[in-house]
């Protein structure tokens, strides 16, 4: 039996989808090409259970294909679980597909009636809500025009207004808050808060974690069809972002490996690249960079760093002609061209030196306090007061990720003292 405090109870629900390789739904195909009916059983939800209290707002997060939208569809009763039970208390309204069932030739007003009827409202109930719906949609002047004459924004506004004014006990929302302009979105948000304060249970699926944090009391993170974590939205989202970052780093690593393999397999292309690179280098070239690497604290090649991690620039050069009064330097630029940091051996008062043979230098950036973005590194060999020997622009690219969403250029170490 369902706990009377709960609005939704999901118990041990599993959902598989049959993914046909080539499905035939005609008799001939069914009979003649039996082999073609081969399918793969893809598990989308694997024995998940959760319950949601009356009046609670819960966000479902997870990466694409993790099963969160499937969960919402199960709650809407569009599809049904292979095993397990779902119980819901009260009238359900869904903002999943806004405007499904709108008839383009009918007026906005008529469509309000048909659309609200799809949510199970009787004519009397719709009559009572009609003014609210029209007022909320801000479509007073257009309400008797056929819906086909509406702009897509107007269309969505009307659909949203109907769905949100159904006065459901449970409201299911899938990525909807991309409705209309900023003002209308703010209005939708306020309406959602109002609905919530009236005791409506809300379930939201969204990639916008900020939206969920604004409305929800709890987040459920679904990973590979299982609940990975649930709790206060902030806590869950930090863990989730951290996981996503790790995954991005792995992806970037793979991409780099792939590119390298391609270059090796395709020396011509590598040459082309070399030529392109040259354009970004200028100077006397008496001394030239031969190898440039970005390493992590363990000395491994790395292209993605977390804010605050150690990053090492490892640079090798060959010497063709003696360079006197040499200066090594580097600069870090954000991908949009903003110069974030730059220094050289002269600024840092390293002793003057000459270069007579091949060698290398390292810059150990102990704490990389850049906030998440893509960055470029320029590396330089100069002599005297800024005369280029090998000025190598955009020699390297790296990315910074973080689970903290602060803004600006640098993370300045800080502490808060609150005397409230």
């Amino acid at each position: 039996m369902m706990d009377s405090n709960n609005a939704i109870e999901v118990r041990n629900v599993s959902k598989h989808f049959k993914v046909y390789y080539d499905k035939g739904s005609q008799l001939k195909e069914r009979v003649l090409f039996r082999k073609r009916n081969a399918y793969e059983d893809r598990v989308v939800l694997d024995n998940i259970s959760f319950s949601i209290k009356k009046g609670e707002a819960v966000g479902l997060v997870g990466k694409n294909g993790c099963g969160k939208s499937t969960t919402l569809k199960l709650l809407t009763k569009i599809i049904y679980p292979n095993s397990g039970t779902i119980e819901m208390a009260g009238r359900v309204s869904s903002l999943i597909e806004l405007g499904a069932g709108f008839h383009p030739d009918m007026s906005g007003r008529e469509n309000i009636y048909t659309n609200a009827a799809i949510f199970g409202l009787t004519k009397k109930e719709i009559d009572a809500r009609l003014d609210d719906i029209i007022a909320f949609s801000e479509l007073e002047q257009f309400i008797d025009n056929p819906v086909r004459t509406y702009s897509s924004g107007m269309y969505m506004r009307l659909a949203f207004s109907v769905a949100i004014n159904v006065n459901a006990d449970i409201l299911l929302i899938d990525e909807i808050l991309a409705v209309g302009d900023a003002n209308f979105q703010a209005k939708c948000f306020n309406k959602l808060r109002e609905i919530k304060s009236e005791g409506t249970t809300i379930v939201i699926v969204s990639h916008s974690l900020g939206q969920i944090e604004q409305i929800c009391d709890r987040s459920i993170w679904i990973k590979n069809g299982k609940i990975q974590m649930e709790g206060a939205p902030k806590d869950v989202h930090l863990e989730y972002l951290d996981y996503m970052n790790t995954e991005r780093m792995e992806m970037a690593e793979k991409e780099r490996a792939r590119q390298e393999a391609e270059e090796q397999a395709n020396p011509e292309k590598a040459d082309e690249k070399e030529a392109a690179k040259k354009k970004k280098r200028y100077g006397s070239m008496d001394c030239m960079f031969t190898e440039i690497n970005i390493l992590d604290a363990n000395g491994n090649l790395q292209k993605t760093f977390r804010t605050g991690e150690e990053m090492i620039l490892d640079l090798h050069y060959e010497c063709k002609k003696k360079v006197t009064d040499a200066v090594f330097g580097f600069g870090i630029f954000r991908s949009d061209g903003l110069w974030c940091y730059g220094t050289n051996t002269r600024i840092d008062h390293k002793d003057n030196f000459d270069i007579e043979r091949d060698g290398s230098y390292r810059v150990d950036l102990k704490e990389l306090m850049l906030i998440p973005a893509e960055y470029w590194v320029d590396v330089t060999i100069e002599y005297g007061e800024g005369n280029p020997v090998d000025y190598y622009k955009e020699a390297l690219r790296f990315e910074v990720v973080s689970k903290v969403s602060d803004v600006g250029v640098l993370r300045i170490p800080h502490e808060w003292t609150l005397n409230i």
């Binding site: 739904s25 809407t76 569009i78 599809i79 049904y80 869904s94 597909e97 199970g120």
Partner: protein, 259 residues
């Protein structure tokens, strides 16, 4: 079961608006528009009158009336069979995207065809009166009962075929042929007296036979239909409906995944 009926009742406004939309949209864009609802059967009657009183003469008195009063109810059944079977398929976008009791679709489709038949009955009455054939008001008391029985049969068939068609799309074409064949095994164009006696038990299994005979008895022979006929039609209708509901309930949960 009770819960489902309650839910369908709660969605009555949706059924109502679907029926309205269908009836209004049926002849959309044509000059005569909704008038086609009346013009269509009238023109058909003209054709039958011409054909059967001049070319293919029949020994049945005023054969065109004999045929017409059976053909209009038959067309309701035939439409329910063919358009009913694709009622879910045609609304797949809605079925995929939103929840509503799926029964709403075949119910709305059948009801819309039913209402269309009611409009055609205005033409039938007009023709019966103006041709001087006349109407027996007493016999007509049975009409609502017959119509309800036919509605039950049609709804049962629509539930059954609409659910099956989702999984087996060929059914919609097969049913077109079935509808045509079915018309010939039902006494629409002939009197059931022409059916060989030894085949009669088989003939009476056809739920449409008693229905069509009842219509004809009321409208053509101007007599109250035999209670036996009505009762057997009703029983067959209920059987079809129960079967339809059973199959529909079994299959409806997978609809959204089939599109």
């Amino acid at each position: 079961m009770l819960k489902e009926f309650k839910e369908i009742y709660a969605y009555r406004q949706m059924i109502f608006s679907l029926v309205k939309k269908d009836l209004r949209g049926r002849y959309k864009g044509s000059v005569l528009g909704f008038m086609w609802t009346f013009v269509n059967p009238l023109l058909q009657l003209c054709v039958y009158t011409l054909v059967f009183s001049i070319i293919m003469r029949q020994d049945i008195e005023r054969y065109y009336l004999f045929l017409f009063v059976a053909l209009i109810p038959w067309m309701f059944f035939s439409a329910a069979l063919t358009s009913g079977s694709i009622s879910i398929l045609n609304q797949k976008d809605m079925v995929k995207k939103i929840y509503f009791p799926r029964e709403v679709m075949p119910i709305a489709d059948t009801t819309s065809n039913f209402v269309n038949m009611l409009f055609c009955f205005i033409v039938i009455f007009a023709v019966l009166l103006f041709s001087g054939w006349g109407i027996s008001l007493y016999a007509c008391l049975a009409l609502p009962v017959i119509m309800v029985v036919e509605y039950i049969i049609c709804l049962g068939i629509a539930l059954l075929t609409s659910a099956l068609t989702v999984y087996f799309r060929d059914l919609q074409y097969i049913l077109g042929i079935v509808a045509m064949a079915w018309q010939y095994v039902t006494p629409v164009m002939y009197s059931s007296e022409r059916v060989p006696e030894e085949l009669l038990p088989l003939w009476n299994l056809n739920p449409m036979t008693p229905v069509i005979e009842a219509y004809r008895s009321v409208l053509y022979y101007k007599t109250f239909p035999e209670l036996n006929t009505l009762l057997s039609a009703f029983i067959l209708g209920v059987i079809v409906l129960v079967l339809g509901i059973f199959v529909f309930n079994r299959l409806e949960k997978g609809f959204a995944e089939e599109f």
